[in-house]
């Protein structure tokens, strides 16, 4: 027996048809389309009913207050945390089949920077999926990694142990690692957290270069001031999707108010009760 029961229908005969219809409306060529995504873990509801289709070839910011579920959205898209419901399509196919098209930049704090590897080693890890099981890393892969390091301005630091890099440099190493993946879609989790202004500018330049080369970049971002200059599109998130669209259309006072303003306490309460009582996991 399942936790959620699809209900009959007289109430919603039409509504159900609509749901299916929206499902089909997800465009095939969208780099990332998320349908009906709900994530609840440790009894805490984090994301509810997220539905979005991102356009191709744009730099897209995800903004929202602390605890709004921005990072969670990225992780849930990549199956790093379990989803209560929903599906994620990358270029029209399930994420699992499209892994090689997705490059991920995790938050810097998630790894042990004392680990005995050099910057070049870390960047080379971006090629591992391409190299394949058990095959050794060849010179050409290392050269590709070196190119990526050069692109983020760290060629001189290639052989430093990673703990000897500054925070901004470590962030750029992560970026370089994603670059070597030569992905179509990049998901970046707070790449600007705790980096100096110069690094931030350098990273933004690279993001824009990626876009100009036809890639799609999704960035979890904090600083509202820079949203209009950094991003083409913005998704505003606070446990639910408040708005998504081109920055000049949706980055409005009204939407900011909705995103950062008071919480919808009733929704919160009900969401919490559901996750506690029902364990929405199917």
């Amino acid at each position: 027996m399942s936790g959620t029961i699809q209900k009959p229908v007289i109430d919603n005969a039409k509504a159900n048809v609509d749901v299916i219809a929206t499902g089909q409306e997800h465009p095939e060529d969208s780099p990332l389309s998320v349908h009906d995504l709900t994530v609840a873990y440790h009894r805490k509801p984090v994301l509810w009913d997220i539905d979005l289709d991102l356009p191709d070839g744009k730099v897209i910011g995800i903004v929202g207050p602390n605890g709004a579920g921005k990072s969670t959205l990225l992780k849930a898209c990549m199956d790093l945390i379990p989803r209560a419901s929903g599906r994620v399509m990358v270029y029209g196919k399930p994420y699992k089949k499209q892994r090689q098209l997705v490059g991920y930049v995790p938050q810097r704090e998630t790894v042990d920077w004392d680990f005995p590897v050099s910057a070049l080693d870390v960047v080379t890890m971006g090629r591992y999926a391409r190299i394949g099981w058990c095959w050794p890393v060849t010179r050409s892969h290392r050269a590709a990694a070196m190119t990526a390091l050069d692109r983020v301005g760290l060629a001189d630091f290639a052989h430093r142990q990673i703990s000897q890099l500054s925070g901004g440099q470590q962030q750029r190493v992560f970026l370089a690692r994603a670059l070597t993946q030569e992905a179509q879609l990049y998901l970046m989790d707070e790449p600007f957290a705790a980096v100096d202004a110069a690094t931030e500018q350098a990273i933004v330049r690279i993001l824009h270069d990626l876009r100009d080369a036809g890639r799609t970049v999704v960035v979890v971002h904090h600083d509202l001031q820079t949203v209009p200059t950094y991003f083409d599109w913005v998704a505003m998130l606070n446990m639910r999707l408040v708005a998504v669209g081109p920055v000049d259309e949706v980055f409005t006072q009204v939407n900011l108010q909705k995103t950062y303003g008071g919480k919808l306490t009733l929704l919160d309460e009900a969401a919490y009760a559901v996750s506690r009582e029902m364990r929405v996991k199917r």
Partner: protein, 459 residues
């Protein structure tokens, strides 16, 4: 006491039995060092502890089963298979407990190791009380019985070591990615659960093979100590693995050699103590993360900071005397007392720094009027040609940094001196170049290769 002859005979492995024992333990140490490295980097060192304790009931059950089916109770492969199965079940229980409850993994490991070990002890108690002979010696698995190793043990250990080696080499890149950043590894499609299971399975193989040699408690040390020691020597994973293997092998080799030379030295324990000594040496001496190199680096930095302060004092006091750029000819000579006034430093500190600067040929004694070596107070010093060049560079870096702080960090000019003091010493050439680049707009003169004017009043 053993003679030199004995020692030589032993170290060159002349005797068949010692050859067998020593090579076996060395290979075991190498294998444990290899797989233990991945365990440590995955922060699961103590999983080996839980696993090895959990093997005991497996040994006892295997014995009982083999006796029950009418076989030879102490058939070694059977016992080891039992140990391996029990060990893996133990690890499975740790994972299971942490999944199903909100208990932490340390508690789960404590529960598994004590309960499994308790079951083992209880079963051994049953075995002791069983009628019929040939049941003694099962306890040797707890402490190991190195000296009684035979050819088949050697073959077993070699086989296990080869399996470990091959797996680690084959999946080197995958294991590296897993240990460094498991989330990222999963994002590009690495089956992290499967890889973790493989590491634990290999640990299980090493533990089970090591039971015979060093016993179930001391095999833990071979899994943990060599990798921890190797980490002090290098910042590269490949090198660390090699060193860990070498340290593990050396512990096995030296430990069993010592145990063979002296009477009543339990080999397993000696091997662990040798490993611990190697760890201690590594912790003190290891160039990458060792304690002494770190202390030494701190000392060197402090020394160079002091030297730079002395040179800057010379330069700036001359500068204020002559109002502007210095040339060698105009240099004023400075007495200790005047130098003392330049900064708040202790007299001994200053004298030590001056001595060092003289040795390096940066400072010279201008005149020794009224002073000899015992009484240095009367001496007058000045910079040498080379000293002047170095001092000018130091002062320039210092002032560039001050300018940067004033222009970009909004620090009041009266405060920058102290703030710049802390940073200038770690400025590399590359940083200086970036500073120049950054300051071009505010202070165009920084592009000239000369010392800029101090942005604040020098007292």
């Amino acid at each position: 006491m053993p003679t030199i002859e004995d020692i030589l005979a032993l170290l060159t492995l002349r005797d068949y039995n010692t050859r067998l024992v020593i090579t076996s333990t060395a290979i075991l140490g190498a294998a444990a060092g290899l797989i233990g490295s991945f365990l440590m980097l995955r922060r699961r060192s103590l999983m080996g502890d839980a696993l090895s304790h959990a093997t005991l009931p497996g040994i006892a059950i295997a014995f009982l089963v083999m006796v029950a089916v009418g076989g030879e109770g102490k058939y070694l492969p059977g016992l080891l298979a039992g140990a391996a199965i029990a060990g893996l079940i133990g690890v499975g229980c740790v994972v299971w407990i942490t999944r199903l409850s909100h208990l932490r993994d340390d508690t789960a490991m404590g529960i598994v190791l004590s309960v499994f070990f308790g079951l083992g002890v209880a079963l051994l108690g049953v075995i002791q009380n069983l009628p019929g002979g040939n049941k003694a010696g099962l306890e040797s698995f707890i402490y190991g019985k190195t000296a009684s190793m035979v050819w088949s043990d050697f073959v077993l250990i070699c086989g296990a070591a080869v399996v470990c080696m091959v797996m680690c080499l084959l999946f080197y890149k995958e294991l590296k990615s897993l240990c460094f950043d498991a989330n990222y590894a999963r994002s590009w499609g690495l089956p992290t659960g499967l890889l973790d299971a493989m590491v634990l399975a290999l640990v299980c193989v090493v533990v089970v093979i090591g039971l015979q040699a060093v016993g179930l408690i001391l095999i833990i040390a071979l899994l943990i100590t060599p990798p921890a020691a190797a980490r002090f020597w290098t910042h590269r994973l490949g090198m660390m693995l090699v060193l860990s293997v070498v340290i593990g092998a050396a512990s096995g080799y030296l430990g069993s050699a010592v145990s063979a030379l002296f009477p009543r030295m339990p080999a397993g324990a000696i091997i662990v103590v040798v490993a611990a000594i190697l760890f201690l040496v590594s912790m003190l001496m290891g160039p990458a993360r060792g304690v002494l190199p770190r202390v030494w680096r701190g000392f060197v930095l402090q020394h160079s900071v002091l030297r730079q302060h002395v040179l800057r004092a010379f330069y700036e006091m001359n500068e204020s005397a002559h109002e502007g750029e210095l040339t060698e000819v105009e240099q004023t000579q400075l007495s200790i007392d005047r130098l003392m006034a330049a900064r708040s430093w202790r007299r001994t500190q200053l004298l030590r720094a001056l001595r060092a600067a003289r040795r390096e040929g940066l400072v010279e004694v201008a005149s020794a009027s009224g002073g000899d070596d015992e009484n240095m107070d009367g001496r007058v010093y000045r910079l040498t040609d080379q000293g002047l060049v170095v001092a000018a560079r130091n002062v320039r870096n210092h002032r560039l940094w001050e300018m940067y702080l004033i222009a970009h960090a909004d620090i009041a000019p009266s405060h920058v001196d102290r703030d710049a003091d802390q940073v200038e010493h770690v400025l590399g050439d590359e940083m200086v170049a970036r500073l120049e680049e950054r300051l071009r707009r505010e202070y165009p003169e920084v592009l000239l290769p000369k010392v800029p004017i101090s942005p604040h009043v020098i007292e």
